[in-house]
Symmetry: C2
Subunit: 147 residues, 2 copies
């Protein structure tokens, strides 16, 4: 990742949009794993590599690599042959992701998306929902809920 000004500020609006989408995508993996680890700790008191891999639909080495990245980013800690745990930052990310996921699914349902499709599509959509959009979704749901 080059540190040198990748957004020369006189970049086309279109290019900016694509760049933002790419940035969001780079974060998606971290978000998914932190949420998954948080889920597992809630359910089983611990998060083991094998279980993480199985739920993410990848092989263990792939999960191990992802966890290494989480550790590098200060989101998780782990000791060899022991479980994985989230740091404070990781926990905060998990909470944020969990909320956003729920709101996205609820919004899809509210506008008439069938339950199955809502669950499937939310997994990809959520990573591209900005704070502004999230707040709009929440406002929409509140308004709807009160009708």
């Amino acid at each position: 990742m080059p540190e040198n000004d990748p957004t020369p500020s006189e970049q086309s609006e279109t290019a900016e949009r694509f760049n933002q989408a790419r940035t969001a995508q780079a974060l998606a993996l971290l978000e998914d794993y932190t949420e998954m680890i948080d889920d597992l700790i809630r359910d089983h008191g611990e998060a083991r590599v094998t279980e993480i891999a199985s739920r993410m639909g990848v092989t263990h080495p792939t999960a191990t690599k992802a966890i290494a990245r989480l550790k590098r980013e200060g989101l998780a800690v782990s000791r060899p042959y022991r479980g994985v745990f989230l740091t404070e930052a990781g926990t905060r990310m998990a909470a944020r992701v969990r909320t956003r996921h729920r709101v996205v699914v609820d919004l899809l349902l509210a506008v008439g998306v069938p339950g199955e499709a809502a669950k499937l599509d939310a997994e990809g959509i959520e990573h591209h929902v900005s704070d502004d959009t999230l707040h709009a979704f929440e406002a929409f749901l509140r308004a709807r809920g009160q009708v």
Copy 2:
């Protein structure tokens, strides 16, 4: 991409969701480029590598690589130092993507997302909108439009 049964069918529902999101992501690049090329041909009568790169916010070798992939997939054709053109399949993909993009932006606006955020987020969201979800969005917009 291994051809061998990556979906053993007794895979957890969660894993399936993530796998689907990953598949959608792999298609996103092709979709973005075909739409961009289609746009450029409409606007300028041709799509040149430099212009594609500039609008996508990448360097021209990156665009060249993407175009090579489009050609491999039978979506585009090009001759050295000449423009890029879409095949029949590419044109069809572009049309589908364009429609979906518009519907996603309209839906975001309809539920109260600010214009700027709608444009930005739609770029990432659209690739994860399945046909079922798209149809639901269209139905919602039709119902709204008639109020």
